[in-house]
Symmetry: C2
Subunit: 459 residues, 2 copies
């Protein structure tokens, strides 16, 4: 009955929010860790948020109060102008500054023309808009696994586009190969789906790796094998990439055979830690895509108030240069600490050095090589250790036993506590393997230590 009244989209759960990825978040929200008031609470390591450099932005804001208010540098009021500004081409000052920043974050190896940039209310919307522009309902995009769980919502839900996974495996460090792309194409054919392109994340979420040049070449080679294929590179973690990062935009600029069929998605949510401001963008060399996407951006424009603030922030070259370098340094340091802490427990991570997370190998901790065993371990980590991490299965990983752990959304002290908790759990878990299932009792005993106020320093 309800199904008849509402659309199938509204009534179904194709938005993917029932996955363990989001369930872990809910668990966190019900009982969030706080060093003073809730030291036994859940620590959120399932959220790819960058909280490491707010002090830099706050210092800048102190020095530039007019950017947050509604006055120009010369004191002239700008409220009315901003309140009325709803041109879907965006504030020119902001687009210019964003294009410059996008180049800078990519080591200035490629330039971006502001007129080929479409502003969107976050990358969520940018990816959906590209699907609306590039594929019909019932056509497919290939997406390498493991992939961001939100893509099931962003790419498929309202567009009717299908995702065909490109199965990547640990045997080659989850690298994308031409053979894997071709195999995905064959599976699409079996499902009678016309493939319209590939969508990758670079750096990869959840792998925490940047695409190697060989992978980009394989992707462009694949796309140029037919004249109706596209490559979408979601580069929202470009600011969290290791030195030597190569944007797909850079390689594509030199490839005539795929001209106009490579589209880049950007965002300020991860690099600058501003998800609340809803700033994303599509960059495309195809005029038709830019034109249609610009019109579609009407469904999610960026607030002019926010554009004005960010035009000033990103327009300050002295600030962006310092921010990019310092942000990378802090992320590197934090990542190093997580990797080191896990190593001390005998847990390895995929080598990558990108993103706000590590792709963590816990295969040796599974009772069996199954996704049931992965969920069993995940539930223990969530419900007993009180750490929200993301199981690989929620990212459509093909192999059980991998987990994504985020490291940039908490303080260093909280990370240390999370590592301590995990270590005690792992020790107990492994010993219970031989001695029997006494994990829970052990863990409860341990967690009761954390009721004091010894972590005051954190906030």
């Amino acid at each position: 009955m309800q199904r008849e009244l509402l659309s199938r989209k509204a009534a179904c759960n194709a938005h993917g929010q029932d996955s363990s990825y989001f369930l872990g978040w809910q668990e966190y929200e019900n009982d969030p860790y706080d060093p003073i008031s809730n030291p036994k609470g859940m620590i959120q390591m399932g959220l790819a948020e960058n909280q490491l450099c707010f002090d830099l932005i706050e210092t800048w804001l102190e020095k530039h109060p007019q950017a947050g208010g509604f006055k120009r540098d010369d004191g002239k009021r700008i409220f009315k102008e901003l309140a009325l500004f709803q041109d879907y081409h965006g504030l020119p000052a902001f687009k210019n500054a964003l294009a410059k920043y996008m180049a800078e974050v990519r080591g200035n190896g490629v330039r971006f023309d502001p007129s080929k940039l479409v502003l969107t209310a976050g990358a969520t919307s940018a990816n959906e808009i590209l699907m609306f522009c590039l594929a019909e309902p019932g056509e497919a995009f290939l997406v390498p696994t493991p992939y961001y769980p939100g893509f099931d919502r962003d790419l498929k839900w309202r567009t009717g586009v299908e995702i065909v996974p490109v199965l990547c495996s640990s045997s080659n460090g989850f690298r994308i190969t031409r053979a894997a792309l071709d195999a995905a194409c064959r599976r699409a054919q079996e499902r009678r789906l016309r493939v319209k392109g590939v969508l990758v994340t670079n750096p990869s979420n959840p792998l925490g790796t940047a695409l190697a040049c060989g992978e980009i070449d394989a992707l462009l080679d694949f796309v140029s094998s037919r004249d109706d294929l596209h490559l979408v590179s979601d580069e929202i973690y470009a600011g969290a990439a290791p030195e030597g990062f190569v944007s797909v935009a850079e390689v594509a600029a030199a490839s005539a055979s795929t001209a106009g069929r490579v589209h880049i998605v950007c965002s300020l949510s991860k690099d600058l830690g501003l998800p609340g401001f809803r700033v994303g963008a599509i960059y495309s060399e195809d005029e038709g895509v830019v034109s249609a996407a610009t019109k579609m951006s009407s469904f999610g424009l960026v607030s002019s108030q926010t554009q004005y603030l960010l035009a000033a922030l990103l327009g300050d070259g002295e600030f962006t240069g310092r921010y990019i370098a310092e942000n990378q340094r802090r992320l590197r340091e934090r990542r190093r600490r997580l990797v080191q802490g896990l190593e001390a427990m005998g847990i390895g991570c995929l080598e990558g050095g990108a993103g706000l997370f590590c792709w963590v190998d816990m295969r040796h901790l599974l009772r069996s090589t199954t996704f049931e065993a992965e969920m069993e371990l995940w539930k223990k980590i969530v419900y007993q250790v009180r750490l929200n991490i993301s199981p690989g299965s929620s990212c459509h990983c093909d192999e059980p036993g991998w987990f994504r752990i985020c490291f940039a959304n908490t303080s260093e002290e909280t990370l240390e506590i999370a590592l301590d908790r995990l270590k005690i759990f792992i020790d107990s878990y492994q010993s219970s393997d031989t001695k029997g299932h006494n994990t829970s009792r052990e863990f409860i005993k341990w967690v009761s230590h954390f009721s004091s106020s010894e972590f005051k320093s954190e906030r």
Copy 2:
């Protein structure tokens, strides 16, 4: 070839932007009127923008500088908290204030529960989301004519939903009747379209009228005639309604037979003149709609920076009370001046007293009762008189000779100049009707007067 590479949505022009409604805007943008620098330029009367009360908001901002910045009243920084806030349920303080404001603007005849409110990046997105939630591609919504030209984009383009017009005519002041709704249903049947509901604008854009109680009753009666029909009431002009305005929400609250099938769309773009801030909302009593729409709002969330500012503004009851009254007073005064000026030229308006525009009857000025004649007159007004007004045909009006003229997006002085220009044109146009087509030369002679700087006072 291009059609193959991109989707049909991207390649087609179903977004409706090629209509005369938007063409007039382009013409304005190429040659915008300015009293000093471009006194012969185009005057924009095709834009339903409210510029009459910015002084009230600016004064409030002067007194509350922390709302625009990133500090609380107590001086505590709030930048980080806002930067990270991306919960699609919205800032509680903002939703509470918005719900309160929505009730106040409707004379407190109905209350709104913040938990049934979904924030969207403008009403554009709110309307599209409702279509995604309520209908399948290929199903239809009935929309009374004349209607906002943007609906062809907002309701149809990406959703695949069809619009079936409910033909309203001047014979009863373009009122919606049960007979007209039933006739539209029959036409939908002929097109083999399943009807899923009716979407109205209240107050109406472009009519400038509020729905009469009889019309709301007819609509609810129609919707309750089947158990799978919905009523969407787009009330983005509620703040520009005459005294005694009745929201569909108010009547629906008392109607058990349509419970959960009436959905209200709101926005701050027109009432507060803030289109650049992208704030819209859906209000629904149906849990399934609220839940699905909330998830869909991920594709266009409202910037947290903007939510924070508006929570403070709308949370100030002293301000909202004064603003609502003063805004209505100024709109009334401005509307009165336009109606009076047109009357002096022998041009009538539909009685309404709502919205930021009048629905103007120029049927007597057409060379013939055809849409070709309407376009001929419109082109003269755009290209010779240099006024951008919207022809009824762009609003899917069923009768040639009606035009929408906006009055709240310019200064009073500019309105007077527009009226002066129009009067000279009408006099000349009507006399040329008997003496021959000498309009253009007369008009060019006249417009050359406006090269002096006599309008300095305007800016």
